[in-house]
Symmetry: C2
Subunit: 359 residues, 2 copies
């Protein structure tokens, strides 16, 4: 595995695997720091291609192209966690990669992730391994009547998950996943959802943003509001959870930890995303150093930036055809559009951030 | 002259003439809005080329290339005001150009600019046309013993200007300019320098940022601080001056008005820059809509953004070899580096913005 011997200097090149909106905003943050970027994407129409000079369009498992990519980059990072393990390893032999293969592998599999979280002494919803119809039935019996069956791998925005309220439904859901290894999670009656966006530097330094309170609609993030309704003590606890996870993974970069807030105020880890996160987009306007710049700083071995917040803020996603109202939306706040030509239903087309004076 | 019939929609292309740091930051602001950019620069190593897919490298008076450029753009703007008038006209016949040829012509010539300002009833330092050695002597005699001789055209960062304290020095300075048409300005004993960064929309809407207080060293901006020491009434007056100028020029886009604050508190117009301005870089972090986004919004016919400020802020330029200390600087604030390979003395390499809670 390649190490980073010294920080990537201005003028150096950060490779970003994945050219969607996260890759695009990462590239723009790198440019602010005087760093160049090379975007690697498996289709030619990537939003991030519009904001950089250097781009490669090839399959994510094309080892020759990945090697060429590694050749022009001083450090490589990812906008998503689902690159095949052998492709990540192929890159990591050639160039400094952050977050590392270990952290990516850990979060690619819900069972591994939840087991890891539990071993750290952190709370999660109850969860059970499901690899057969019998196991599905047995797992459901251990819940209090409601659960969610999720495929262990490749889920996002609600894809690969189904709510279940009986053993029969659990078996049916498992069959609809064509028998893909899954986990059954107990349903959590949460009072709200929050997330912690945090960064761990190459030197182990840690910085966390104030946790936003998140509202989802149809499994897609609708709105993040900061400050959340968490108490100061809960905010500290939430940040400490993120730090425990980041330290245990020897993590370098930004990670997001999604948390359920139980009716009793307890914080349950729902999911770890080893990357910048939709619920952290408000940091572009409300903080001196955004999550995107923070991630680039960490990956490039630079000192972390200031994560403190100097305004209250609400971020709302613009989904599908909502983007047609761009002119009206531009009047209401800081409008971000991702350069996507087609507004398919459920597709994240942009977001709007609205600031107000800090309360 | 081409008009703008409807706002440039997301996915449309804004042409930017000039690929330095201003063009670079304009391109990044356009990208946030989902707009594409094409950068036109007369050398191939332009900082702005690094942050866009579309770029053209050709002389600023290459009419064929300018026509090709106009062809791919839905609107065109400038990062600097010194494009030759016939080149601007050539563009304006083919594509919507903002700010317009009239505003650019007005600010390209110090005599025209100062005369225009005076006719608006605004204060300036006393100034005199100097086109001969005799005129230089006669002009100096009208001052109170100190003045600055400036070439009428193509001056920036102190280039083409010399302080003079006698008629002989004035003649010598005029000769050192090789007889270029000049103006002699009376020396103003100001208490401080401020600037107003303001925007006027396609629809005549107006928005001004809080005026920063500016400190120059060796004729180059060193530091901008907001809030300035201006009183609330002076802030209103300063913004009103910018509005008067913008309205009189039927201006579209961001403009900067540099003001001297006299010992008696009066505001004297020093210079008008028909573009985004170094003393407005702090708006990236401290405002919901930066000067760069504001300019792109105006040029594209979009509604103006919110120019209110939600933090106190100091912006410092990084000049020449100071950029070598990038790692230390990155610890102190939001670091911006412009992607310039060579750190020549006096060259603006980047800036650092430091926020604190609003006072």
């Amino acid at each position: 595995m390649k190490k980073l011997d010294h920080p990537v200097p201005p003028g150096g090149t950060i490779g970003i695997v994945g050219g969607g909106q996260l890759g695009r905003m990462l590239a723009m943050a790198a440019a602010r720091l005087g760093l160049q970027t090379c975007i690697y994407n498996d289709t030619p129409d990537a939003p991030a291609f519009q904001v950089t000079e250097q781009a490669m369009d090839a399959p994510y498992d094309d080892l020759d192209m990945l090697a060429s990519f590694a050749e022009v980059c001083d450090a490589v990072t990812f906008e998503f966690e689902n690159l095949p393990a052998h492709a990540i390893a192929h890159l990591a032999e050639r160039v400094w990669v952050a977050p590392g293969a270990h952290a990516l592998a850990m979060t690619q599999d819900r069972l591994t992730e939840k087991t890891f979280v539990e071993k750290l002494g952190l709370k999660t919803a109850p969860f059970f391994d499901v690899t057969s119809a019998d196991q599905a039935r047995a797992a459901f019996a251990k819940l209090n009547g409601r659960g969610i069956l999720k495929t262990r791998r490749f889920g996002y925005d609600g894809k690969g998950q189904t709510k279940v309220a009986s053993a029969d439904e659990t078996v049916k859901a498992f069959e609809s996943f064509k028998g893909a290894p899954s986990i059954l999670e107990g349903f959590v009656d949460f009072s709200c959802e929050v997330s912690v966006i945090a960064a761990r530097g190459h030197d182990g330094a840690f910085a966390a943003y104030d946790p936003p309170e998140n509202v989802h609609e149809n499994h897609i993030l609708r709105r993040s509001t900061v400050p959340s309704r968490l108490s100061a003590a809960q905010v500290d606890d939430a940040k400490a959870i993120a730090r425990k996870i980041a330290d245990a993974l020897d993590y370098v970069g930004v990670l997001a930890v999604e948390l359920f807030v139980g009716q009793d105020g307890s914080l349950l880890v729902n999911e770890i995303a080893p990357r910048v996160h939709n619920s952290g987009h408000w940091t572009i306007e409300a903080c001196q150093c955004s999550q995107f710049e923070q991630h680039i700083r960490a990956v490039a071995g630079w000192p972390l930036g200031d994560a403190s917040r100097h305004a209250d803020v609400v971020m709302e996603n613009i989904i599908g055809a909502e983007a047609d109202a761009w002119e009206a939306l531009a009047k209401t706040g800081a409008l971000h559009l991702y350069g996507k030509a087609q507004a398919r239903p459920g597709r994240k087309m942009g977001h709007v951030t609205r600031l107000k004076d800090k309360s």
